[in-house]
Symmetry: C2
């Protein structure tokens, strides 16, 4: 068998995958997934080699009842491999609970567009930033790192285009608060290759010290194209959701997060290492479908890995 050709220009040799299914995926599911099942899923993914998780969210149980068991989830996850568990935190109270639960880092989040921030967290962007400064000071005392997510970083469902300057402004503010890792969220699937290029380059120029994570949704079919564009820009940290768990809050029929296993498949085929066992991941994606009780959008779990050959006796073919 021939060696797969290498991409040119060269892509990063290795990237980190952040699994967000337990948080971003499960919070949009209508049914509460039992705590023990959540822990099993996360620990199975640790077994597959994933080393970064957005494990849950310390938000109000009233606002997001699906994640009301954040503390218990954090208690059950497998810490033996050194896998990093971050959790989303909306305010000081959430930060206190998360730190008490022993998370590896807090993730603060706000939107790049004012109207989405107002709608999502009920305050202006300036108020979000003020609160974040307090939380960062508090977390620093506890010696817990803080990361920052920027929602609607590629477009806003209320405002349309989001100027790159807004993303840069928030990223600079995050950096000044002491954050070292930020994530650009493609909240409603509005990212495109040129926007990814533009935002990655602007951030590299303005705040080169920041590690930029990309978080894409496949709502308009181009989620993996945007990830590939990010690779070409030298990005080495991507968020994804097992099976493509999670939907789009605006369009019931539309897809949400890119699926972790499809992303890992693409990366490995492009010669980019992840440390993850794809076959194990495909099984985990299938089990997640069973857990959720519906078909998930991930493709490779349905088709199987690329070089799984078929017998000439047992299959149908079609011309062309």
């Amino acid at each position: 068998m021939q060696q797969a050709p290498k991409a040119h220009p060269p892509l990063p040799e290795r990237v980190d995958i952040v699994e967000v299914g337990p948080r971003d995926g499960l919070q949009s599911e209508p049914e509460f997934v039992p705590t023990a099942r959540k822990i099993e899923l996360i620990n199975d993914l640790v077994g597959a080699g994933i080393r970064h998780f957005e494990a849950t969210s310390f938000v109000s149980p009233r606002a997001v009842p699906q994640l009301r068991d954040a503390k218990e989830v954090m208690r059950g996850v497998d810490r033996s491999t050194g896998a990093q568990f971050t959790t989303l935190v909306p305010n000081m109270k959430g930060a206190e609970r998360a730190i008490e639960a022993g998370v590896d880092a807090l993730v603060l989040f706000m939107s790049a567009s004012e109207s989405h921030n107002l709608k999502n967290v009920n305050c202006t962007r300036e108020t979000s930033l003020e609160r974040f400064r307090e939380i960062c000071a508090f977390a620093a005392q506890a010696d817990v790192p803080v990361q920052g997510a920027i929602a609607t970083a590629f477009g806003c469902p209320f405002e349309g285009e989001v100027p790159v300057a807004e993303v840069v402004r928030i990223a600079k503010a995050y950096h000044e608060m002491g954050m070292r890792v930020i994530s650009l969220g493609d909240t409603t699937g509005m990212a495109t290759p040129p926007l990814v290029q533009e935002r990655c380059r602007a951030l590299r120029e303005a705040v080169p010290e920041l590690e930029v994570t990309l978080h894409f949704h496949n709502t308009r079919g181009v989620g993996l194209v945007c990830a590939y564009t990010g690779l070409l820009e030298g990005i080495t940290r991507f968020e994804a959701s097992i099976g493509g768990l999670g939907g789009c809050p605006f369009v019931p029929r539309a897809t949400g997060n890119i699926s972790t296993e499809d992303l890992v498949y693409m990366l490995h085929e492009c010669g980019v290492g992840t440390g993850i066992d794809l076959e194990h991941l495909l099984e985990a994606a299938q089990q997640t479908e069973t857990l959720i009780g519906r078909t998930l959008p991930g493709q490779v779990m349905k088709a199987g890995s690329r070089l799984k050959t078929h017998s000439m006796d047992t299959v149908a073919t079609a011309n062309g």
Copy 2:
């Protein structure tokens, strides 16, 4: 509103889209789609601005009953705009029928891998090439151009990897027969960005006169990534299927062709012109779902175009 940034390195300014749904899509549907509906679909897509169609296939009605109305379809399609209608042709008899029906070009097809060719058309690749030489000579007398498709060009479901040398060998043979346009078919969704790069570069080197068309399946989620890779290689002709019509002959749950409207969405967002009205295409994709009676894999038809904004009063949001 800001102007969308341009991709860098620059992509082609304009590409041709070849709609293959009426052939590659409908032939895998279990039900026969009535001739009048096929013609309506094609003519609606002509109205949307598509100018290249693989309209049907002059194969044995016994082998592919879904396309038994090839002659009637060709009689009904709208020729007023100069749109080009090609049809797949398996043998001399098919070529005679296609030419009699007034097609703009014949498309001959064989596989890059021996076992798939044996399974698909029941003869060796050498025999396929011999027959094609006769058909090309016949078509030349009738002054009808011939194009050549190469199936399993990125991998074979029976053999696994397909050496690039096999693809180049067939492309050279096609060129020697007088063909000017060829298509690389990703029959079971095994294309990856490095393989696309490798094959495009090898063909440009070996047979620079040939116009190379890329035909991807989204079976493993990376169909549009492969198309984007093709764009970066300067390819300006892509095949796709409205709504993502058509499946994978090997895996019932898996996806087939990339969807035309998602491809056109990506191209337009990247500043690449197609001459196609995306909104018209999205309506056509939705009508195709109704025609077929099941959900199709196209994403943009579900989510809507990118800058369709939502009211802040009427929608749900989710944190982060």
